[in-house]
């Protein structure tokens, strides 16, 4: 029981909100307080269960250091989203309880996902987390009157279903080839099969399902519109937490032998480079900050794939380090966006003009996280990129490394344009100062400290991530 404490807490939280949603008029203060409380409780319980090991539910569910580390990360990201999104400015008060319920269900799905080691369990937990998100996107209030959130919701569902279809199809192949749905049985069975094309096809199809979550080219189409259409807090969630789950499962699936590692590496390399170029080039011309971060997310996903294509534990460890860093940097960005967007509206890059005058702390947090995303040392973004490039070059993929390095140079422009707006451009009309609740302020500074610490003293983190990956291989 103790082993799945965070999941239980989430389930209780979701149930609590379900009951609250039935009340005639739930108090907003109760909802605010409880959401932060439950978020922190999930984080704390995930930390508590770290170090436990057990196997549950007919061996379909594993709890070990690897899964618990991801749960800690997910719990942390959830708590941060809860803290900066406490006002839920983009969501109507009448659906707040339902929104929170779906949010916790989605996190529950992700936590189950990282623990699942059986194909059906993977599928069900992935769908639990996805469907909850599909509902959360259109829940945004219609302040603009353009109903973009509906469009975003539909796009999210349609692309999501397509990706799930691919994944299920691939899973059916795996089952057909090996006669089992347990990864522990599938792996040895596949090794006996050698280099059958069906194995490669099925592995790539399953990967596609998670590429969708991670927003890797060519499964990225939903990103800009969903980021733009969903409320700021929802986007902050979508941009961070599900990616952790996706990376956890991608690494687990990369241990499936495909029989043709050469082809798989080339495939992943191509996907990574396409992601980077597509994401960075599209981000250059964006005016909406969330769309820009969406495209930048695509390019960062490309870097994560670089870690996977090494097909070695060190590379996977680096991918974990990178995605953890990415989540922290992105959370810091969305923290600023949520705080700056006073009525829950979408922000254009011009809206950041003169942010330094209006609230220096926010400008500082924003610029640190953007420079980190751009990969400027000594922040975590640089170390992550540097490690991934080194490990990729160790595999002799010189061309990929050069293309990735060029992408770093492209990316700096659009990150810099936001920093420029925040620090150098003064807004035309005098805009009022922004009030930031102390809790948000402290959280933002904690994120900044983490960005700097993970960047300057990375060896412990990398070692730790590497050892975790080693333990599941």
């Amino acid at each position: 029981m103790m082993a799945i404490l965070p999941e239980l807490v989430l389930l209780c939280g979701a149930t609590f909100y379900f009951i609250v949603s039935l009340l005639p008029s739930p108090g907003v203060r109760l909802l605010r307080g409880s959401s932060i409380f439950i978020g922190l409780l999930v984080f704390a319980s995930a930390c508590l269960t770290y170090g436990q090991e057990s196997t549950l539910f007919h061996n379909a569910y594993v709890v070990d250091n690897y899964t618990q580390m991801f749960k800690v990360l997910i719990g942390f990201a959830l708590a941060v989203v809860m803290i900066f999104g406490v006002e839920l400015r983009g969501i109507e008060n009448s659906v707040r309880a339902e929104y929170s319920m779906f949010l916790y269900l989605s996190v529950l799905g992700l936590m189950m996902l990282v623990s699942s080691v059986e194909l059906i369990a993977i599928f069900i937990s992935l769908e639990l987390s996805s469907f909850a998100l599909y509902v959360m996107v259109p829940m945004r209030d219609d302040s603009t009157g353009t109903r973009t959130q509906m469009e975003a919701g539909i796009k999210y569902v349609l692309f999501g279903v397509m990706a799930t279809g691919f994944m299920l199809f691939g899973m059916s192949y795996l089952f057909g080839l090996t006669g089992s749905t347990y990864l522990q049985d599938i792996i040895p069975a596949l090794q006996g099969l050698g280099g059958q094309p069906a194995v490669v096809v099925s592995v790539i199809m399953i990967l596609a399902g998670f590429f969708y979550k991670l927003a890797v080219f060519p499964m990225h189409f939903w990103v800009p519109d969903v980021y733009e259409g969903a409320s700021n807090e929802t986007t902050g969630f979508i941009a961070t937490v599900p990616k952790l789950g996706a990376v956890a499962l991608l690494i687990r699936l990369m241990t499936l032998p495909s029989g043709q590692p050469e082809f798989l590496v080339q495939f992943l390399g191509g996907v990574a480079v396409c992601s980077m170029f597509y994401g960075n080039l599209c981000a250059l011309v964006q005016k909406d900050i969330k769309r820009m971060l969406g495209y930048s997310g695509i390019s960062h996903a490309g870097f994560v794939v670089l870690g996977l294509l090494s097909l070695r534990a060190e590379g996977y460890g680096l991918a974990i380090y990178y995605i953890a860093g990415y989540v922290i940097m992105n959370l810091a960005c969305f923290l600023v966006i949520s705080a700056l967007s006073q009525r829950g509206e979408n922000l254009q890059i011009d809206d950041f003009n003169g942010l330094y005058k209006r609230q220096p702390v926010l400008a500082f947090i924003l610029s640190v996280s953007l420079f980190a995303l751009a990969g400027i040392p000594p922040f975590v973004g640089f170390m992550g990129k540097f490690f991934l490039l080194t490990s990729t070059l160790q595999q002799d993929h010189l061309i990929i490394v050069i293309l990735a390095a060029i992408n770093t140079a492209i990316a700096i422009y659009y990150y810099l344009s936001v920093v420029k707006a925040a620090y150098t451009t003064d807004s035309n009309d005098e805009q009022p100062a922004i009030l930031v609740p102390p809790m948000t302020r402290i959280t933002g500074l904690v994120l900044v400290v983490m960005i700097i610490l993970m960047g300057t003293l990375p060896s412990k983190f990398v070692n730790f991530a590497g050892s975790l990956v080693q333990s599941i291989m």
Partner: protein, 506 residues
């Protein structure tokens, strides 16, 4: 690691020089009052400068090893260490950096009126990364500081700059960053060959020619942009003109030196074959920079732009000296680096002082101030003379050595560089004539006040060094002698060795 002398022994002076300004900047976070920030930053930079004198006292001038070395494990997975040390090439640059900084603070005393604390914060972290770049002996440590420096420098230009600050700062950032991304790839490629990021381990190794040329080009692109060399110099005038005085001084005196320092420290010893192969092109690019910088400076009406273009010319002399591969040339290049730091830094301070009074950098509006600001023009005259290498001033030593070295290498090349020196006299005297005397239609300058004590204190040390280096360069040359000699010897041995190898090959 036998190239490190006195490893981890005694007081960690270099780490102190790196981290003390950083620690000082954190204090500003906690206590951000503006007047306190000024005095605090001044105190921190002065303490750093005084402590850096310890390098001079403890430096063994006969040794070619890296001294005051410190080694600590940083990221063992990739064999990255925190290694720092100074040799004859870097010691003067470190001291130049630490000594320029207090004057930058003084120059900003009145000039910076808004967001003073943030400005001082940027100056302090700038100092940390600049000192770090010159003493880093681990390539990743070097790269981290090299890139990190862009952030405070960008903010210095972008927040406290002139009217076109946004354009200038972004151009600066993009140019320098784009130049150095391939540097990172080259560094990783070298790591693959050596299994270590320790810079001396990478030197004088047998790499294939193609590998060397590729690595050299990646190095060269990054460093040439920083210098800046002729075709990739366009960020410099923009950045110089828009930056606040302190920013211009830091750019001219220290940042530009990082490019040429990089060439000396990395290009020559790590890729000697490629350096020898490509040297003619670089030499002629240097000549192009000298002539081009001279002519363009002649046509400027903006004082800062004039000095900025003169920097392109002066730095051309530095690259010229480096790539003639003899001791005179390289010594001259290092001297020229220091001299340019002193003289151009002082000139930018002078322009800043005029700007504080007239709020314009237009040469036309600053004519005929000699009558009202005698102290000011006295300083200005000496710095201008120094800038075009008048005998008895510091730049003469550097330029003379570079030209002498070039004559030994290639006479045509040296002759081609001479017009640059003449042009320097032309544009500097033109500026001097206009500022001191002007013509019959001078604007009314009677409201001008002469320099105050703070400003005299700021300029006087620069003048001291102009004459000290100009009249008695011996102590400065001694510092670098052994290291330069060793570099040239090794380069010569390498050439011979390659020559023998080609003879032995069938």
């Amino acid at each position: 690691m036998d190239v490190l002398a006195n490893l981890n022994g005694g007081f960690p002076l270099l780490s102190f020089l790196i981290f003390f300004p950083l620690a000082g900047s954190l204090v500003l976070f906690v206590y951000p009052k503006e007047t306190f920030a000024k005095y605090w930053t001044l105190a921190v930079t002065i303490i750093t400068a005084l402590m850096s004198l310890g390098l001079l006292f403890g430096f063994d001038r006969t040794s070619t090893k890296y001294q005051f070395a410190e080694l600590h494990t940083w990221i063992p997975q990739f064999n990255i260490n925190y290694v720092v040390g100074v040799d004859g090439i870097s010691i003067l640059l470190v001291i130049l950096t630490t000594f320029i900084m207090p004057f930058c603070v003084l120059a900003s005393w009145k000039y910076i009126s808004k967001r003073v604390t943030a400005f001082m914060f940027c100056l302090l972290i700038m100092e940390t990364s600049m000192v770090g770049v010159f003493v880093a002996l681990d390539f990743i440590l070097f790269y981290v500081l090299w890139e990190f420096m862009l952030i405070p420098m960008y903010l210095l230009i972008a927040i406290w700059g002139g009217p076109r600050k946004v354009y200038a700062s972004i151009k600066f950032f993009l140019y320098t960053l784009a130049g150095s991304v391939l540097l990172l790839v080259a560094i990783i490629a070298l790591y693959m060959k050596n299994g270590s990021f320790f810079i001396p381990d990478m030197m004088w190794n047998e790499y294939s020619m193609v590998f060397q040329v590729l690595v050299f080009l990646a190095f060269f692109l990054a460093f040439a942009i920083k210098v800046p060399m002729f075709p990739v110099h366009t960020w410099l005038p923009a950045a110089h003109v828009e930056a606040p005085t302190a920013g211009s001084v830091i750019l001219a005196s220290i940042l530009l030196k990082m490019g040429t320092y990089g060439m000396l420290r990395f290009c020559l010893p790590i890729t000697p074959d490629a350096s020898l192969l490509l040297a003619p092109y670089i030499l002629w690019l240097s000549i192009a920079g000298i002539i081009y910088g001279g002519f363009t400076a002649l046509a400027q009406h903006d004082m800062k732009k004039l000095i900025a273009y003169s920097s392109v010319g002066h730095m051309g002399f530095v690259t010229l000296g480096i790539f003639v591969f003899n001791a005179q040339g390289i010594q001259g290049a290092i001297m020229q680096m220091i001299n340019h730091g002193v003289t151009t830094g002082a000139l930018f301070l002078c322009v800043g002082m005029i700007y504080e009074r007239t709020h314009s950098r237009e040469l036309r509006l600053a004519t005929g101030v000699g009558k009202f600001m005698p102290w000011y023009v006295t300083f200005l005259v000496f710095f201008c003379l120094s800038s075009f290498g008048f005998p008895g001033t510091n730049s003469f030593i550097g330029e003379f050595l570079v030209l002498a070295g070039t004559f030994r290498e290639n006479e045509i090349l040296a002759l081609a560089a001479i017009p640059g020196a003449v042009l320097a006299a032309a544009y500097m005297l033109r500026m001097l004539q206009k500022i001191v005397w002007g013509g019959t239609d001078n604007p009314d300058q009677s409201y001008l006040t002469d320099l105050n004590i703070r400003e005299i204190v700021t300029l006087a040390p620069f003048l001291l060094f102009v004459f000290w280096i100009g009249l008695g360069p011996e102590p400065f040359m001694n510092l670098m002698d052994a290291s330069v000699q060793q570099l040239v010897d090794q380069l010569g041995q390498w050439q011979q060795h390659q020559h023998v190898a080609t003879l032995l090959l069938p």
